[in-house]
């Protein structure tokens, strides 16, 4: 079982985990194989509700990618960036100061997760980079290029949700530009599916960044009508690291906030579609728990009903080891 996660080619072809690549998997393999060292990055913003279990998928994936690269003789320097400043950029955020203060707590939590599972990445605040002189200089140069390019502008539009277009237009797409410049110095970025638009913008500005996107995160306990009426959620899922994404915080598992019983009830009322092409948040949780199992060095996987196995795994490999309540 470890093989499917720890061998580089097998990891990248894991259809249960991987949604897509930018520009292509062939380009990523070519880029990586020629190097002795690669720089990986995963960044996430956050909201007032807390750390979602879905963030674990990304922490575990970067951990697996590191191990897979190391097994090929390639060193991987990995950064997990906590987007404190970007978390408050949205005009809809009411108490920006309170949210900014949560950044350190977030770093503490992610560091704990790192320690429990033996993950090997650096955790840092995005503000420490964004406020630096070197970054500001790069950003100003990028803005000049951006302002003169219709093509880059149209790439920037694609990074924005429809309901935020006028907000971002007024700000000159500052958020998108900051991210595009920030990630430009890395070789590989891992993120949810929508991140492809930011990565295309970064490449449009001249970076050689490649992207690996994981399968969408879906809310628990929702009816099929949510997906029918919201094709965007069907296609891209909800934001994995923000419980309040699409106002579905009551349908997400928030670590350290939700009890195991509450999580169990939520999982039990989740409809599991038979069609594998339809959203399956239970499968996603199962995969997260499987990855947790790998990092804890426990290998045994027994067959059983997917909800039961997922609950059992989540209890043994996430709730108990993290002990956040």
């Amino acid at each position: 079982m470890k093989d499917k996660y720890l061998k580089f080619n097998r990891l990248l072809s894991n259809r249960s985990l991987i949604y897509g690549f930018c520009p292509s998997v062939a380009e990523i393999v070519r880029k990586v194989k020629g190097k002795k060292e690669v720089k990986l990055v995963y960044g996430e913003t956050y909201d007032k509700y807390g750390l979602t279990i879905d963030s674990l998928k990304y922490y575990f994936f970067v951990g697996l990618l590191q191990k897979a690269l190391e097994s090929e003789g390639i060193a991987a320097i990995t950064e997990v960036l906590i987007g404190d400043l970007h978390s408050v950029k949205n005009d809809l955020v009411v108490d920006k100061e309170a949210l900014l203060k949560q950044a350190e707590e977030r770093v503490r939590l992610v560091t704990k997760i790192k320690d429990v599972y033996g993950l090997n990445f650096n955790v840092s605040l995005m503000s420490k980079i964004l406020e630096g002189e070197e970054f500001r200089g790069k950003l100003n140069r990028a803005k000049q290029v951006f302002d003169g390019s219709e093509k880059l502008r149209s790439l920037a539009y694609e990074t924005v949700l429809t309901n935020r277009i006028s907000q971002e237009e007024k700000k000159g797409f500052e958020y998108a530009l900051e991210e595009a410049v920030l990630i430009g110095k890395y070789d590989l970025k891992i993120g949810p599916p929508r991140e492809i638009y930011f990565d295309k913008l970064s490449r449009g500005l001249g970076s050689k960044l490649c992207g690996i996107y994981l399968k969408p995160t879906y809310p628990l306990g929702v009816g099929a009508e949510l997906y029918i009426e919201n094709p965007e959620i069907e296609k891209f899922g909800v934001t994995p690291y923000k419980a309040g994404s699409n106002k579905l915080q009551d349908n997400r598992i928030i670590l350290g906030v939700m009890s195991f019983e509450e999580m169990k009830n939520l999982i039990e009322k989740t409809f599991v579609f038979k069609d594998p092409k339809l959203p399956n948040p239970i499968l996603d949780l199962f995969i997260i728990s499987e990855m947790a199992m790998v990092f804890l060095g426990k290998e045994k996987l027994e067959p059983g009903n997917i909800k039961e196995k997922t609950l059992e795994n989540l209890k043994k490999f996430i709730f108990e080891p993290l002990d956040l309540r």
């Binding site: 099929a224 009508e225 029918i228 009426e229 409809f271 069609d275």
Partner: protein
């Protein structure tokens, strides 16, 4: 003249090409008219509904417009409204049955159904010699036949246009929102060769669609219009006018037509008796029509056994696909026909037996329909007139 093996193999390739042409037609129309493929919503409905109905399961419904909210209502088991009219120019046939089976499925999912019987349209189009005859056909033939499908009288409202004159007041009210240019562009000048047709197409049909959103029926609401592709322009017109009136634009699901017995690329048409099987046909007539029908099989038996049949280019096999409830049976016949295990005569016998049984059952149910009044819409329409 003896047909050569080579000619027969060419015949087989023609049938394959016809099958592709039929498949492409629906996909092309969906794209051309900026509709959405129904398959996305279908994939959810078949998971959550115990019985989504034949039309949905078998992809007879292939496209939709604005159906998402209504699909949500269906999943949540909430009531919703459907309008689907019928031109009583001929007795009901298998092509009509596709629509009524779909309406019954929708009613089981919670729909309140309005069925306008457009006898005025029959008369204006020259399909009925007089309004009297069109009314007779509606009351003596069509309405009992519709009721025989098993509609719930509490959730079904049928009305004959001529006998609901308030409808024409509503049409007058709505006509102000429809320009002549729009009517000419959408319906074409040749279909407006008398003033009655122009009024009917531009306004009366619109009134039928918008009627359920009047205050008399609870005001603005989500409405579903199941149509064949040739009726799409009426729905677009209704959506446009509803926006102007601050009503809810109706949504639409579009179903494939029952292939004509003579050409699977055309639809069964009541005005061409050789292309249809009427639900009122006698068994001998049914079998005779099916025996003369076009099939997806080649003319030389030994070649058919080698190459198999093309069910997708057949007028006979789709009768099972559109009407037979037994999924296992249809899969078997499909496989056997496609592989050449059964030939066209055997297929025609199987389908003939099936259709005879279906029509005889329907005729028995129609005979038992005595009281149509409980289905008829009698409510006056005054909300747009009262002061």
């Amino acid at each position: 003249m003896r047909i050569s093996i080579k000619q027969t193999e060419a015949e087989y390739l023609e049938k394959k090409a016809l099958a592709k042409k039929i498949d492409r037609y629906y996909k092309d129309k969906t794209r051309e008219l900026n509709l959405e493929y129904f398959s996305r919503i279908k994939s959810y409905l078949i998971e959550v509904l115990e019985d989504p109905g034949l039309s949905i399961k078998r992809d007879i419904v292939f496209a939709e417009l604005g159906f998402e909210k209504l699909a949500g209502k269906i999943i949540r088991r909430e009531e919703f409204t459907v309008v689907s009219g019928l031109n009583p120019s001929s007795p009901l046939h298998l092509g009509h049955k596709v629509l009524f089976d779909l309406l019954i499925s929708l009613q089981k999912m919670g729909a309140n159904i309005f069925i306008p019987i457009t006898n005025d349209e029959s008369y204006l189009d020259g399909k009925a010699p007089s309004l009297i005859e069109s009314r007779r056909m509606a009351y003596e033939e069509i309405i009992p036949s519709i009721i025989a499908f098993g509609f719930d009288p509490k959730k079904t409202k049928i009305f004959v246009d001529s006998d609901h004159p308030d409808l024409y007041n509503l049409a007058i009210y709505l006509s102000k929102y429809v320009s002549n240019d729009y009517v000419k562009t959408v319906f074409g000048e040749e279909s407006l060769d008398n003033s009655g047709k122009a009024f009917y197409r531009s306004s009366v049909q619109l009134a039928q669609i918008i009627l359920p959103q009047l205050e008399e029926f609870g005001g603005a609401k989500e409405t579903l219009i199941p149509v064949g592709i040739d009726q799409h322009s009426y729905v677009l017109l209704a959506r446009d006018v509803c926006r102007k009136l601050k009503l809810i634009p109706p949504s639409e699901i579009i179903f494939k037509f029952q292939p004509s017995l003579k050409n699977p690329f055309e639809k069964m048409s009541g005005s061409k008796p050789e292309t249809v099987i009427y639900l009122s046909d006698e068994p001998e007539i049914i079998r005779d029509k099916i025996n003369r029908a076009f099939t997806g099989s080649v003319s030389v038996l030994e070649v058919h056994k080698k190459l198999g049949g093309v069910p997708e280019a057949c007028s006979v096999f789709p009768i099972l696909k559109f009407h037979c409830l037994d999924d296992g049976f249809i899969s078997k016949i499909y496989r056997d026909y496609k592989s050449g295990k059964i030939n066209m005569n055997e297929l025609k016998k199987i389908v003939g037996d099936f259709v005879v049984n279906l029509c005889v059952e329907h005729q028995k149910k129609k005979e038992k329909v005595k009281n149509i009044n409980k289905f008829l819409l009698k409510k006056p329409l005054r909300s747009f007139l009262e002061y």
